[in-house]
Symmetry: D2
Subunit: 336 residues, 4 copies
């Protein structure tokens, strides 16, 4: 990346701050000129501390700033589509956190706006950029395992989000599993054609009372003939469990968790080793940097982004099918 790039960040919550910090530390060619957040007061000290000069309570000044080349949309999900459309119409490249929206029609409007404007658009499926999973994809594409037969994703959080969050989250399949739906598409290079969601409430009854589930095994069929399963739980007491397994006609792949250390303590009782890295900030730090690097590169070198609008749409379609499957107790085809 040679060219200087000026960006604005919309949304200064946890994920907006995370992206801002990683950009400041790793991309000297990229200047964050402005950040917008409804709680502008609360973030202004932090923002100035990392050199962001303009802090707004509203997103429009960023959209209207002709110096800004690209925006990062890190605001609440229900604003993603609106802000993406506005930014695209203003000729800005867009990096949008997942999901684009829960409404398929609304997602199509975003994709349309992006296409009309001819700007870059990338969705925040950061796990594609993880060192482990990127290598699995590479091995699969190189033919190391032959033709795919079985794909298994384990994705468990160390603790559930607050029930208040759960209520507006779109439910586990659209909030949490959506990353895994993207992962299986990324790894297999094939589309999910049918899902069957076997789910339960085993972590917290309040999650069930809020109409959601917290534990699931989602069975998948792929267009290429492979089958798969995603295993989710909102709480694994031993930490963030992020693993993948693949079986193909020529071999199998497994991916273990990243651990804080390789230290192992042998006592008279047992051999003790580290639990997985605590949660997504620790586990996926490298992937957040790498996704941004590739976003900036796609702008600088006018190349397609590595996670397109279609890649943002498909996991939502799968998630909606998973919800229908769970509610109707039967396998459901994934359709647009």
């Amino acid at each position: 990346m040679e060219k200087k790039l000026t960006i604005g960040v919309i949304g200064g919550g946890r994920i907006g701050q995370l992206h801002s910090r990683f950009i400041t530390n790793n991309f000297p060619q990229v200047k964050i000129k402005a950040i917008a957040d409804v709680m502008a007061d609360k973030i202004s000290e932090w923002a100035r501390g990392i050199g962001i000069e303009n802090i707004y309570a509203d997103h429009r000044p960023i959209i209207d700033d002709r110096e800004i080349d690209a925006v990062l949309i890190c605001s609440p999900t229900n604003t993603h589509a609106q802000y993406s459309i506005e930014a695209a119409q203003a000729g800005k490249h867009v990096f949008c956190e997942k999901p684009i929206d829960y409404d398929v029609g609304r997602i199509h409007q975003v994709l349309q706006a992006v296409e009309t404007a001819g700007v870059k658009f990338q969705v925040g499926f950061n796990r594609r950029f993880d060192h482990n999973f990127a290598k699995v994809r590479e091995l699969i594409q190189s033919g190391a395992v032959g033709q795919l037969q079985i794909v298994k994703v384990t994705s468990r959080d160390p603790e559930p989000p607050p029930v208040e969050y759960v209520k507006t989250s779109g439910g586990m399949f659209l909030d949490m599993t959506i990353h895994d739906f993207d992962m299986v598409r990324y790894l297999t290079g094939s589309e999910v054609t049918e899902v069957y969601a076997n789910a339960a409430v085993t972590v917290d009854p309040a999650i069930g009372e809020a109409g959601d589930v917290d534990t699931a095994l989602i069975s998948l069929k792929f267009a290429n003939g492979a089958i798969g399963v995603i295993d989710n739980c909102r709480r694994a007491v031993y930490g963030y469990d992020q693993r993948v397994e693949v079986l193909g006609t020529r071999g199998g792949i497994t991916v273990g968790n990243d651990l804080p250390t390789t230290v192992s303590l042998s006592t008279s009782e047992a051999v003790l080793s580290d639990k997985p890295k605590y949660f997504f900030l620790e586990r996926y730090e490298g992937s957040f940097i790498e996704e941004m690097r590739q976003f900036f590169d796609s702008i600088a070198n006018n190349r397609p982004t590595p996670v397109t609008g279609i890649d943002g749409l498909k996991p939502v379609l799968i998630g909606l099918a998973a919800w229908r499957s769970y509610r109707e107790g039967r396998p459901v085809k994934v359709e647009d």
Copy 2:
């Protein structure tokens, strides 16, 4: 085990020879007085070599031998029920290889005969006696993982059986997965209430042409509220893949494969380690000995056998439900 025990073996094929050899080597108190096989000629040299005096082409002399306390039924599946009933009626304890039968009514006749006769009856689900899986069960029962949430079984063979075998095998769910259906019951201590079989033919089209599948992800619901999935494939090129994972409210358990050695070779290309032990003979040798030890103990000490007739029936019911699920493309309840 103090008392001397005299037994007869019906069926001198691979599994019959395996049991006979392990018994000869490990149980000095047990005398194999006779073996019956339709190919008596073929096995007589081997049988005499390990000290079996009587070799018959027919099973009846064993049933009729009043000195024989117990019989091992290792003959083809379609004879299991008949021989079990005859042996029970003759007052002999019965160890019957899995499955008892594919016909549920026929299995009930066996259970009835056994109960009427008041003899011991044990089904050959040897994997329950495996060092790894027995420890998982023990940990679960001790409360180490709290309340069960997710159970995952990986069970893949190194190579598929001949298609001729497949045709009479009852199909993958009754021939291969039946061990895994038993395993999940054993590990969870709970009954499977519903199955959904996501299956495909990815190994050999001839298996599909024979009406069977060779790759499957079978989604399960348990009476205790947990959910599970069994992952099967008739061929994993890297060998016999036998693993289990459990998630509970207080912890998780994983079981890796047993390896021939712990040797690891680091070269300029990669770090290379051993593939899993080749197949069930290598992998489950200890479990075959242990299941027999417990069978003999249950006779000697008049205790219940560790794998009862009901334990023989249930996996067949689950397997039949799995077949229905696969054929009808929907989840199916497991019922008697």
Copy 3:
């Protein structure tokens, strides 16, 4: 092995019973006709139970029995040389537990007697027959690691022997490390030319008071230019620690411990896995059987034994040099 072989066992203690049991269970062609032990009364019930007909308080009846083809010498160390010589002179093949003797002149007498008699002679360095270490040797010999540079052996016991035993044991280097001296010769295919023993008493002061050490790092030079180190401790609270590492110009090899199970329990505190198999009986069971198989084969097929008299002599020479090194605080050359 086709031919029937009749053997006698001299010494019915732990190791004599272990060999007898493994032979009875695994080698139908081998008949243990007699066992001799000064405590004949104490072992007679056990011996009859596994089918040994003759139990003597003295070794001579075995030496004098013309039906006996080979003897296993499992008696106390100070009788090994004498019984080996008597057996050889009586024309019997000899399997002698390690060490042959602590006196080099006495060992030479044994080797002389064996050569004169033209009988087979094998020393009980069972670890050569371990699945892990045998594979390391095979990899080295195949050239997988190129030219050897560094060899490291870790060999720690779960608990020290009684101090009374220590006093007559020849000291750690001749009693415990002797196995490791043999191991490095076996793995490298090269002779140890110099040792430096860095040792201490860290486990039990009483061991030090008895003139012995309980912890050591023994630095080695090999004739082929490689260097090595053996790490010993009489007590590792986590169990029997038996590992090897090799570095060569084309690669490295590591060997981990054998574990009772592959089960791993992840809790909110840590990931817990199994300690190594407890001690040599558990860890080296397979090697005891395999060394005997090869001993019987070398007799049956008139082939050299896999652990010769020279292989019995060399580790004693190294051990004596290690003692001199420790006492004089300097490296010492290994010489006959």
Copy 4:
């Protein structure tokens, strides 16, 4: 760290650039005002790119700059002492790369100058700040393994430095092993009292012709009664091998290598996993950042530095003893 800090970097080679980059990316409160390098022309573009305004060919302008609070000495070893003394005398805090010098008298002059000036002084033993080794130290200090008995360090490079470098490097014990001498002091909290260096040339005869060795096992005695061994090789074809093992009366600790990914590929041949991270830049990145964080913190909060001048002296004394041991073929006491 609250206070702003202005620093200068002396030496713009690989390690100087590495520190500069990490500081720029991670410590917004620290300003690198100037860098000095004899090849000022060559580094000026790079230096300006990361925001360093002043690039000098000589170190004096940095020493003389009254705005500069601290200097990082990253120049060739033979200038470390001189520049450290000058910087201290100018009242600047000093971070000095290892080794301070190879001449013990010269090191004492540095320590004297630092003490007189009352400035902070830290030596660049970065591995103390590695996540793995820091945890081992913490476990040892917490008593998790009881009283230390054995310490083993494996430290092998992926490839040897150029022979030209070797000639002026002080030899392997002072150039490479010096890190390991520091590591054993750090881990054990005890001093090395005696060394015996068993070394060889097995990698490249040219290294031997230059008077150096490339392979070594260095046996150690510690003041606390423990013993240890360091295993070094200038080339391990599988990469940078950095491991530690500790045995204590209550347990053992092992530390494995950090791997680029946790991906494991199982084929019909073997199970393949990643080689260790390539070399010190990849492996110890985190430790370089952490050592600097603690250096800056010790200045900001007027606390002792975590690696003192004595910590810089001791490994040199051990290294010199190791050279004497190797040359004289005997154990040598470590003395000032």
